[in-house]
C-alpha cells in the first residue's frame, strides 16, 4: 500500500522534537551563530530527546530499532529549529550509526553502549576532504594494509567536534573502496588543527581539519572487522540525513517568509497579495513537498532493502540540495532588503541552504 502519514509513534517523536526545535533551538540559533558557540545545555536537552538512542536495539544499550524514515522525520524537525544545532546533537550518530549498520558484532558491543549511555559526548566521523571535486566514493586519504594492520594517511576537513572527540570513524580509500576505520583520540600520527574551520555558514558548529600521518589501526578496528563493509548503506544514510535536514531548513525559510509576506504592505496591499510574491511561495511549498516525498520514499526503500534504495537516496540528496538553495534564496528575496540584514534569520538559512550541495557526511539518520 501507499500511505503518507507518520504512524503514531513517529508522530509523537515529530511533535516532541518539533517542540524542542521551536522553543529551544530556534531562539538560540542567531546568538550561537554569532558567538560561534552552541550552549552545552541546549545540545544536552536535544540529546535527551533520544533520537539516536531509539535507533539502537536494547542488546547494545538502546531502546528501539533504526528506521531511516523515522530518522528523516526527526532530522527535518531538528533542522527546522537550527541546522548547526541539529548537526551538533546528531554528531554521535556519525560514529554510532556506521557501527550499527556495518560494524562487526564486537564493534557494536564495544562502542554502541558507550556512545549512547548517559549524556551527549562528542563522537564523530571524518569523511569530507578539502578539494573541489570531493567524492565520497573516491577518497584521497588512503589506507594501506601490512603486518595485519592498516596505515592511514591523508587530510580530512570539516570534522565536527574533532578536538574533543573520544573516537572517530575515518573514511579512507583502501584499494579503491571507501572503508571506515575506528580511530581513538590519542592515536599516534593524528593531528587536529587548533584553528576551527571558518565557513560561510554553520559557524556555531565546531569543525576541524584533521591530519593523518601514518596512523595505524588494528585489523579489528576496521569497520565491519577483517573483511570490511559495504560503504553504500552508510553513504545512503548520510545522503538521506542531508536531504531531510534540507527540508527542515527550507520549511523554516518558507514559513518565515510566508508569514512576513502576510504582514508586510506595499502599494496598499499585503505583498502576499501580489502574484509575484504569492507564486514564489506556491512554488516553494510545492518543491518542499516534492523533495519530502522523494526523501521519504528513499528512506522507506532503505528500510525495506529495495534494490534502488541507494540511487534514490542519491537523487533525494541532489534534489533536496537544489530545492533548499531555491527556497532559501526566495525567502531572502521576499523579505527584500530586510532579508539581507542579520536581524532576520533568512540570510542565515540561505547560507545554510547552499551547504547541502557539499556537506554530505555531517549527519546520518
Amino acid at each position: 500500500m501507499y500511505s503518507f502519514e507518520p504512524n503514531e509513534e513517529q508522530q509523537m517523536l515529530v511533535d516532541a522534537v518539533g517542540k524542542y526545535a521551536s522553543t529551544d533551538l530556534r531562539p538560540a540559533a542567531r546568538e550561537a551563530e554569532e558567538s560561534r558557540e552552541l550552549p552545552k545545555k541546549l545540545v544536552g536537552k536535544g540529546w535527551e530527546l533520544g533520537v539516536l538512542q531509539a535507533s539502537i536495539p536494547d542488546a547494545y544499550g538502546g531502546f528501539g530499532e533504526r528506521s531511516a524514515v523515522t530518522g528523516a522525520l526527526a532530522a527535518e524537525e531538528l533542522a527546522f529549529g537550527d541546522l548547526a544545532g541539529a548537526f551538533a546533537i546528531g554528531a554521535p550518530n556519525l560514529f554510532a550509526l556506521p557501527i550499527l549498520l556495518a560494524g562487526s558484532e564486537e564493534q557494536k558491543k564495544e562502542y554502541l553502549p558507550k556512545v549512547i549511555e548517559g549524556e551527549w559526548r562528542p563522537y564523530t566521523a571524518a569523511l569530507i576532504e578539502y578539494s573541489f571535486d570531493f567524492d565520497p566514493s573516491d577518497l584521497r586519504t588512503t589506507a594501506k594494509f601490512s603486518n595485519n594492520e592498516y596505515c592511514i594517511s591523508g587530510e580530512k576537513a570539516f570534522v565536527p567536534f574533532a578536538k574533543d572527540a573520544e573516537a572517530l570513524i575515518v573514511y579512507a580509500n583502501l584499494d579503491g573502496r571507501t572503508q571506515g576505520f575506528i580511530v581513538t583520540k590519542n592515536a599516534a600520527g593524528l593531528t587536529i588543527n587548533n584553528e576551527r574551520e571558518n565557513l560561510m555558514g554553520l559557524n556555531a558548529l565546531p569543525l576541524y581539519r584533521v591530519k593523518l600521518d601514518n596512523v595505524t589501526v588494528s585489523a579489528s578496528d576496521r569497520l565491519g572487522g577483517a573483511s570490511g563493509h559495504d560503504f553504500e548503506p552508510v553513504l545512503a544514510s548520510m545522503r538521506l540525513a542531508s536531504a531531510a535536514a534540507a527540508l527542515g531548513v527550507a520549511r523554516a525559510a518558507f514559513e518565515y517568509s510566508r508569514d512576513y509576506a502576510k504582514e508586510r504592505e506595499a502599494f496598499g496591499v499585503k505583498i502576499a497579495q501580489k502574484q509575484a510574491v504569492a507564486f514564489m511561495l506556491a512554488e516553494m511549498r510545492t518543491e518542499i513537498e516534492a523533495m519530502r516525498l522523494l526523501t521519504w520514499e528513499a528512506a522507506w526503500k532503505l528500510d525495506n532493502a529495495k534494490g534502488d534504495a541507494f540511487s534514490e537516496a542519491y537523487l533525494a540528496s541532489v534534489g533536496a540540495a537544489d530545492m533548499a538553495m531555491m527556497v532559501t534564496d526566495r525567502a531572502v528575496q521576499i523579505l527584500g532588503g530586510h532579508g539581507y540584514i542579520r536581524e532576520h534569520p533568512v540570510e542565515m538559512w540561505m547560507r545554510n541552504g547552499r551547504g547541502f550541495a557539499m556537506l554530505t557526511g555531517l549527519a546520518m539518520v
Binding site: Y2, S3, E5, D133, D135, A272, A278, R285, T286, V318
Partner: protein, 420 residues
C-alpha cells in the same frame, strides 16, 4: 497510518497489462493519427470498451469498490483513485492523445460523479457499461471565459410552462465534444455537461451544470480545432441555441440562495481530476525520458549515478535532474489521489501535483528534444510528438498560473478576492 511506498498488487498488475496495450495499440498508431487529424481510432476505442467492461478502469471516476464479501476479513483501504492514476499514466505513456479518446465518460462523467444526485448518476452513467462504447464531455470554457470561469455568458432559463431549461451560449475547446454529441453507429449515445448561469447577478453562486444528451436539437458542433499536439483527441467548439433539456438534467440545486455555491461542484470535480491530468502528463514525460536514456545508452553515454555534480557531464546532470523531477512529481500525484481515496480534503495537494506535473512534463520533453539534437527534432521518432503533446498539461484543467493561485490561496489562507 504509516509511511509506506509499496505499490499495491492491483496497481502493479494493471500497469503490466496496460503496458502491452500502450505498446501494441497506441504507440504503433501514434504517428498515423498524428498525421491524420480527426480520424477516429476505432480499434483502440472498441478494445478499451471491452476491456473496461470487465475491469472497470479508464474513466475519470473510479468505480465504486465492491464491499468485501467476507465481513471477517480486514477491510482493505480504498485505492480507486490510485489505480486510476496509475492506469492513466501508463496509457499516456503509450499515447496521451489516444488516452483522451478512451471511452467511459471522461470529464463529463467526472462532473456528474462529483455533483449529481444518486438518481441522476444512475440515469446518466449507466450507459458506460453498455454494449457499445460511449463518450461524455465537459463544456466550461468560452471564448471570453477560460481561466476566469466566472465570466461565462451561457445562460439557462427555466421555462415554467414546459418545466424545461432553455440554454443559450457558445462553448469552445471541448475535449471529445464531437464523439460525445454527434451520433456514430459504433457508439452509444453520449452527453455533454454544459456549464451555464441560472442567475447572472449571483456570479459564481448562480452557475450550474446541465446534462445535454447527444442529438438534442439546437446544439451544433461548430468546428473541430487543429492543434499542435494530441491531434487524435477532438477539441470541439459547440454552439447552443434555444436548447431545451428536462428539468432534472440540472446538477445541483435549481434555486439560487446566498449560501448555495453551484461552483463548488466544478471545484470538487477539479480536486479529483487535477491529479489525474497531472498523471497523464507524467506518462508523456516518462516516455520521453526513457527514450532519451535508451538512445544515450545506444550511443555509449552512461549516466553515472552517485557521483558528485562536479564530476558529471552536462548530459548526466540533465538526466539526473529529470529523474528527480519525474519521480517526485509522480509521488505528488500519488499522495493527492491517496488523499482522495481516503476522503481527506486534497485541494492543496491536488493543485500542487498539477503545478509540478505541468512544469516537469514540459521541461523533460523540451530538454529531451534538445539533448537528442537533430534526432530529437526529426519526425522519425515520437519524441518530437511527445514534446508537442506535453505542453497541454500545463494549460488545461487550470493553467500552471491558476493552479499556483490555488496553492497560494491555500497556504496563505486567502480567498479569491484577496488574491486574484
Amino acid at each position: 497510518m504509516t509511511i509506506e511506498f509499496e505499490s499495491p498488487k492491483p496497481i502493479a498488475q494493471t500497469q503490466f497489462v496496460l503496458k502491452t496495450v500502450a505498446e501494441e495499440m497506441m504507440r504503433s498508431k501514434s504517428r498515423y493519427f498524428d498525421e491524420h487529424e480527426h480520424e477516429i481510432p476505432w480499434d483502440y476505442i472498441e478494445f478499451m470498451h471491452t476491456a473496461m467492461k470487465t475491469t472497470g478502469g479508464g474513466s475519470l471516476a473510479p468505480k465504486d469498490e465492491k464491499a468485501e464479501a467476507d465481513p471477517n476479513k480486514p477491510k482493505r483501504p480504498p485505492i480507486g483513485y490510485q489505480l486510476l492514476a496509475a492506469q492513466i499514466e501508463t496509457l499516456a505513456w503509450g499515447d496521451v492523445g489516444m488516452y483522451l479518446v478512451t471511452p467511459g465518460g471522461g470529464l463529463g462523467a467526472a462532473a456528474v460523479q462529483a455533483a449529481a444526485s444518486p438518481e441522476q448518476k444512475a440515469k446518466f452513467l449507466a450507459r458506460f457499461g453498455g454494449e457499445k462504447p460511449a463518450f461524455a464531455a465537459m463544456c466550461m470554457t468560452e471564448a471570453g471565459a477560460g481561466s476566469d470561469t466566472s465570466a461565462i455568458r451561457t445562460r439557462a432559463v427555466l421555462d415554467e410552462k414546459t418545466n424545461e431549461w432553455v440554454i443559450n451560449g457558445e462553448k469552445i475547446f471541448v475535449t471529445a465534444g464531437d464523439k460525445s454529441f454527434n451520433s456514430y453507429e459504433k457508439l452509444d449515445r453520449g452527453f455533454i455537461v454544459v456549464w451555464a448561469s441560472i442567475d447572472p447577478s449571483a456570479g459564481r453562486a448562480g452557475m450550474r451544470a446541465f446534462v445535454v444528451e447527444s442529438g438534442t436539437p439546437g446544439v451544433k458542433i461548430a468546428k473541430l480545432e487543429h492543434k499542435m499536439g494530441i491531434r487524435v483527441s477532438d477539441t470541439a467548439a459547440i454552439s447552443l441555441m434555444d436548447v431545451r433539456v428536462p428539468f432534472d438534467h440540472i446538477l445541483g440545486s435549481p434555486t439560487v440562495e446566498k449560501t448555495t455555491t453551484g461552483f463548488k461542484g466544478a471545484m470538487a470535480t477539479f480536486d479529483a481530476t487535477r491529479p489525474l491530468v497531472a498523471a497523464s502528463g507524467l506518462g508523456v514525460a516518462r516516455a520521453a525520458l526513457e527514450f532519451l536514456k535508451e538512445k544515450l545508452k545506444e550511443n555509449g553515454v552512461e549516466i553515472r549515478y552517485g557521483l558528485p555534480r562536479q564530476k558529471l557531464s552536462n548530459i548526466e546532470r540533465e538526466v539526473i535532474d529529470m529523474d528527480i523531477m519525474l519521480k517526485s512529481a509522480w509521488l505528488m500525484v500519488l499522495k493527492a489521489v491517496w488523499m482522495a481515496d481516503n476522503k481527506k480534503s486534497n485541494a492543496l495537494e491536488s493543485s500542487m501535483s498539477k503545478v509540478k506535473s505541468g512544469d516537469v512534463t514540459t521541461k523533460i520533453t523540451q530538454k529531451a528534444v534538445e539533448i537528442m539534437g537533430p534526432l530529437g527534432y526529426s519526425r522519425e521518432f515520437l519524441l518530437e510528438k511527445w514534446f508537442r503533446d506535453a505542453k497541454i498539461t500545463d494549460i488545461y484543467e487550470g493553467t500552471g498560473q491558476i493552479n499556483r493561485l490555488v496553492v497560494a490561496r491555500q497556504i496563505l489562507g486567502y480567498s479569491g478576492s484577496e488574491l486574484r
